[in-house]
Symmetry: C4
Subunit: 229 residues, 4 copies
């Protein structure tokens, strides 16, 4: 990776961080001028980078001349670059809508996907996963089945006792997901004996749901490492 690309990477990360921090009202209140200024700075830099790339790309015979340059403008990565700059200007039209405005500014984060351009490693990982996609789909199917089964049991056990909380299957599905993944927020908790019994089984099944993809991944990666040697 060349030095210029490293600098662009750091700038993209910084611009994304600023876009994230800007959404916090407490930080905006501290210094109302800071974030708009920073954004203008980043957009100016990124426009400069865009024009520079447009000029330099002429070295490549494919993109020579005006016709070649137009072909480059409509290439995938150039479109991403443009899409990350445009929202800044669209922002001036929706000045009076703070929420929409910030959403548009966050489009700068689209540039993060450009970081992927510099790395071939994602491809290797994706292939390693693909080689065992059958097993991964199987465990996903099993997880889905457990999700439905546990939701059904909890619905039967808890709906009469807590009609507001466990009163419909979509609501219980939310509970099941947070329990099977062992997140466990605690916003919905069974209170009946039967409900707790089923919930306990669900939590234990959750271990299996974590163990299955972990085991598959460990096996895949172990094979991949042995092949490399």
């Amino acid at each position: 990776m060349s030095t210029i690309n490293r600098v662009v990477c750091v700038l993209i990360l910084l611009a994304s961080l600023v876009a994230i921090l800007e959404t916090e009202p407490m930080l905006r209140a501290l210094s109302p001028r800071l974030f708009p200024t920073l954004e203008t700075v980043f957009v100016v830099i990124f426009i400069g980078e865009y024009l520079l790339r447009l000029y330099v790309v002429g070295e490549d015979p494919r993109y020579r001349g005006i016709k070649g340059r137009l072909r480059y403008v409509f290439s995938f990565w150039a479109m991403v670059d443009l899409l990350a700059i445009l929202p800044y200007f669209l922002g001036f039209m929706v000045q009076n809508n703070g929420f929409l405005l910030r959403m548009l500014r966050l489009a700068l984060m689209l540039r993060l996907t450009r970081l992927g351009r510099f790395s071939q490693a994602w491809v290797a990982l994706a292939e390693a996963l693909k080689s065992r996609s059958h097993e991964l789909w199987l465990s996903a199917g099993l997880a889905m089945l457990l999700l439905l089964l546990s939701s059904f049991c909890l619905y039967l056990a808890e709906a009469p006792a807590q009609p507001e909380v466990f009163g419909s299957l979509p609501r219980v599905l939310w509970w099941s997901v947070t329990t099977l993944t062992t997140v466990g927020y605690g916003d919905m908790v069974p209170i009946t004996g039967l409900g707790k019994f089923f919930a306990g089984l669900t939590a234990v099944a959750g271990i299996g749901i974590i163990a299955m993809p972990t085991g598959i991944l460990a096996a895949v990666l172990s094979d991949a490492f042995q092949k490399n040697r």
Copy 2:
């Protein structure tokens, strides 16, 4: 898998999704007519499919003639298909009981088990697990022992301080399950120093309980993959 089977799979998934969404009162209130209509549509389609299968099955010499057709009707998968259609008609008899009615409609989800008919992969997974069932049972036994031990310790430490929450072993068992599986709802939390000490040990032991089956599964799958090559 033939095209017709793919279509049936998608229909079963759709019908199940509708049956799930129908249990949500807020969605039912949005459009009181939508769900009964959709259900009727699905049941009509599934009856059509059932009759078609009953006709086509005659191609198989085992199910030729009326006697053969009857044999098919009482075969396992045909029974599942029938059980997924019948609740719709039973529903008309319990019109005035909303909860029971929805329970019956959910029987449509029985059809999901039919998806299993199209996949042989479950068998392979089950065999892989069976080959190491001894180790899996062992870790289950160890988990059960830890469950009892930690419940006992927490009961001793917290029962006097929180008699309502940790006041009996079955209640503390619920806490132990949610902690050992690292779900951690937070509906029951120790407050005494000794209780927190035991709870910390339980949480750490929970890592072992997750690590054990994961390690076994990873080893089993790694072996299975190496054999395949």
Copy 3:
């Protein structure tokens, strides 16, 4: 395992289940006579089993004669059996103290350890763990270090903001344990920006703490399985 041992195993499990359920006041209230009766039945059966074993053990030349029987009575497993029966009689002396009484009755669960007598598999597992005890201790040490470090950071960040909740290192240690093991009860949650930043790092480090022993176990078991073939 002989048929008689299987029956004894089931009886031990049943007696333990009864001892657990008895601690729940709501179940005791349902039928005040049931649990004392069941306990008496179990104790009578276990006394019978104890005497039978004492008689049958004479077949073994080591335990022949009165002197041999006495040697058997003071052997480890016979002591466990006796310790599981005695609390029943001690119970009559502390009749007026419900909590202590139930604690004594739970001694019946000591018998669960007797189930270990019938299985040699624990030994194999313990050896597998021992062979990599060095790595497991290392990951335990690393976990302990992370525990102290994250507690220290959270104490610095949150103690001034929430003096009651994060006001001392022992209290913060409890938070750190529940976060590093990804249990996350939610009884203590950082509210300052810095506290949330450190807490996020702690939660991410918790993944490593789970991954380390899991990886070691997976490697150990994978080796053990390959050796067996």
Copy 4:
């Protein structure tokens, strides 16, 4: 490890435990004299150990004579030892500031890093991790991407419904970290249907984020063990 080093290790652990317990107001209230006395005892012992080391180090030709001793005093480990003693004396100057005082006393825990001097195992672990650092960085990058993506989705879905709780991306990042690591405190929970849908996907993605490093570690350690044999 020599006997004297073992004793010093135990003393460091004890002193650290005392420094931790001292931060708890309830324990300080129990016995106001105990902790200052214990601290003085530990500091006296550690000063003695420091002087003894300074004398004994002369056996090493590198540190012979006064010039050699000065070189030792400014060596890394001797500095750590000194830094763990000095805060005790600084403490007398900030007597009236309880919080700062306790912070200084906790510097005793710096000595814990000295335990690292006695173990070469950390190096082996670090190397094992280094050999697969590429894969670990990749999974860290993937986790970071998922973190941003899920925060963005939750912000879009929940910010209008819960402006106080999900009102800015930094706040939602905190939620995302606790969900992706499956900690799940429950201090921030989505309430809209769309928010719960995205949150469910986040929780499921969290399993992958745990499975990835676990799988890599398992594969690395499995390779390392096979090389050792």
